[in-house]
C-alpha cells in the first residue's frame, strides 16, 4: 500500500525557520511550512495554545497564491519554541488517533446493531 500523501516534487524540507529569528533566543520562532494551509495550521495552533508554557501561538497564510503557512510561537524562558512545536505535533497525533479509534468503534457498533 502506498502512502496517502502525494510525493513532494520540489524536494527539500517542508519546514524551515524564518530568517532573523534566532537572534532573539530559543523562545521565539516563526516556522515556514511549504504546501500547508488552514487544515494543519489551525489544528497546530489549537494544540500549541493548550500548552501552558506557550505564551503566543498564531498562524497566517501570507498570500493565498503561494502555498505557504507561517506559524509564530513564543514560549516562556528556558522552553525552546521547537520543543513546543514538536509537542504540538505529538499531541495532535494522539488526538487524531483517538478520534479515529472512536469513529471506527462507533461504525462497528452501529453496524452490529443494524444486523
Amino acid at each position: 500500500m502506498s502512502s496517502l500523501l502525494p510525493p513532494d516534487k520540489d524536494g527539500g524540507n517542508r519546514l524551515s525557520v524564518l530568517e532573523g529569528d534566532t537572534s532573539s533566543g530559543e523562545e521565539c520562532r516563526t516556522y515556514v511550512f511549504r504546501k500547508e494551509n488552514h487544515t494543519l495550521g489551525n489544528c497546530l495552533r489549537t494544540m500549541l495554545l493548550k500548552n501552558p508554557q506557550v505564551q503566543f501561538a498564531g498562524y497566517t497564510i501570507p498570500h493565498p497564491s503561494e502555498d505557504v503557512m507561517h506559524l509564530r510561537i513564543q514560549t516562556v524562558e528556558g522552553y525552546p519554541a521547537q520543543s513546543a512545536l514538536r509537542k504540538a505535533f505529538v499531541d495532535l497525533k494522539t488526538h487524531a488517533s483517538q478520534l479515529k479509534t472512536k469513529f471506527v468503534t462507533a461504525v462497528d457498533n452501529f453496524e452490529k446493531e443494524g444486523s
Partner: protein
C-alpha cells in the same frame, strides 16, 4: 419554567441582527478546558445509507479546528483515481475534443486508490500496472436497420457503459471491475456517421490538484441547534410559532385547561431560518442557540470508497503529515 444550561460559554446565540458569542476564547493562558477528558469527546453514528456511501455522524466535544480539518481533508487530501490523459484517435462528433476530454476526467471510477502508486511526473502516459488504469472508448453511430423499433439510430447516446477496461500486466488478477461507478452517465450524443475512438489513462490524484480527484460528492458539518422557550405560548400564537421552524422541530401539546402549548420536540433538524424574528410578538418567546462543540457531519461519497472508510482515511492523512513533520524536526535538530 427555564431549562438549566450547563455553560453559556459553549453556545452561540442567533439574535435578530447578529450572532453573538461565536469566538472560542482561544488565547494562551485561557484554559476553559485544559486537555478535555477523553470521555467528554464522543463520536456517534446517526445514519448510514446507500450501501455505505452516505454517512451522517456527530462529533461532540471536539475543537472546531479538528472538525474543520477533517472536513477539509475529506474534500482535498484523500486520494482517488480519475482519468487524466485522453488519447483521441478519432472524434467526429459535435463535442470538441477538449470538452470531451474534460468530461471524461469527471467520471467517478470505482478503482481503490490505495492499491495504486503515485505516478511520477514526466513519465509517459501509458504508465505501468502499478500507477495507471487504462480504458478504451470506441463507439460508432449507425442507422437502425430495424425500421419497426422506435429508435432510428444505433448507439447514438454514448454512456459510461461503453467504456472498456484494458487490464495491464497483473491487474486482471488484482482488480475487479475498476470501471465507472454508474453505467448510465451520458458522455456524448452521436448521429449516423459519427465515431469516437479514444484511449483513457486514469491515475491517482488529490482534490487539491483538481476537483475531479475529490472522493466525496460533498462533506460538510453544521452545529447542533438549540431552541429554548422563554415564556409559554398558547393557541393561535403557538400555531404560528410552530410554523416558524422546520417541520418536526416544535409541536403543540395540550395543557390541563384545554389550551394548546408550544413545545420543542427535537431541535436537531432545525434549519435555523430565524423566521421567528418576523413576528413581533413571538421574538422574545424563544432563544435560538447553537452548541459550539457539537458538529453534525454529512459525508456523501462519489462511489469509489465508502464514507465509513473515507473518514478514517482523512484522519490517516493528518497522522501522516504529523509523522512527516516530527521526522523533519528530529532530523533538523540533529544537524
Amino acid at each position: 419554567m427555564t431549562e438549566f444550561s450547563f455553560s453559556s460559554k459553549n453556545k452561540l446565540t442567533l439574535k435578530e441582527f447578529e450572532i453573538v458569542n461565536t469566538s472560542n476564547y482561544d488565547f494562551s493562558g485561557h484554559f476553559a478546558d485544559p486537555h478535555k477528558q477523553e470521555n467528554e469527546l464522543k463520536v456517534e453514528i446517526v445514519k448510514i445509507e446507500d450501501d455505505g456511501m452516505f454517512l451522517e455522524f456527530d462529533m461532540i466535544g471536539y475543537d472546531p479546528s479538528v472538525a474543520n480539518a477533517v472536513r477539509r481533508l475529506l474534500l482535498s487530501d484523500v486520494p482517488t483515481m480519475a482519468i487524466e490523459k485522453v488519447h483521441i484517435y478519432q472524434n467526429t462528433s459535435i463535442m470538441q475534443d477538449e470538452v470531451l476530454a474534460h468530461r471524461m476526467g469527471l467520471i467517478p471510477l470505482k478503482a481503490d486508490p490505495r492499491l495504486f502508486k503515485w505516478k511520477e511526473e514526466g513519465t509517459e502516459d501509458e504508465g505501468t500496472e502499478d500507477d495507471t488504469l487504462q480504458f478504451s472508448l470506441q463507439v460508432r453511430c449507425k442507422h437502425n436497420p430495424d425500421k419497426s423499433s422506435g429508435d432510428p439510430y444505433l448507439d447514438n447516446k454514448v454512456f459510461t457503459k461503453h467504456l472498456k477496461w484494458i487490464p495491464k500486466g497483473s491487474q486482471k488478477d488484482k482488480l475487479i471491475n475498476p470501471g465507472p461507478v454508474e453505467d448510465d452517465i451520458l458522455i456524448n450524443k452521436l448521429r449516423p456517421g459519427h465515431e469516437m475512438d479514444m484511449k483513457l489513462f486514469a491515475v491517482k490524484g488529490v482534490g487539491r490538484d483538481h476537483a475531479k480527484f475529490s472522493p466525496v460528492a460533498t462533506a460538510f458539518y453544521r452545529l447542533h441547534p438549540e431552541i429554548r422557550i422563554n415564556r409559554d405560548v398558547f393557541d393561535e400564537s403557538a400555531i404560528r410559532l410552530v410554523k416558524c421552524f422546520t417541520p418536526g422541530v416544535m409541536q403543540l401539546e395540550p395543557t390541563e385547561d384545554g389550551r394548546k402549548k408550544a413545545k420543542v420536540l427535537d431541535a436537531r433538524n432545525d434549519m435555523c431560518s430565524r423566521n421567528v424574528f418576523r413576528h413581533e410578538d413571538l421574538k422574545d418567546a424563544v432563544t435560538l442557540e447553537k452548541r459550539k462543540d457539537h458538529f453534525i457531519f454529512n459525508v456523501e461519497s462519489t462511489g469509489a470508497i465508502k464514507s465509513t472508510e473515507l473518514v478514517p482515511m482523512a484522519i490517516d492523512v493528518l497522522l501522516e503529515k504529523c509523522e512527516l513533520y516530527i521526522n523533519e524536526i528530529d532530523s533538523q535538530s540533529k544537524e
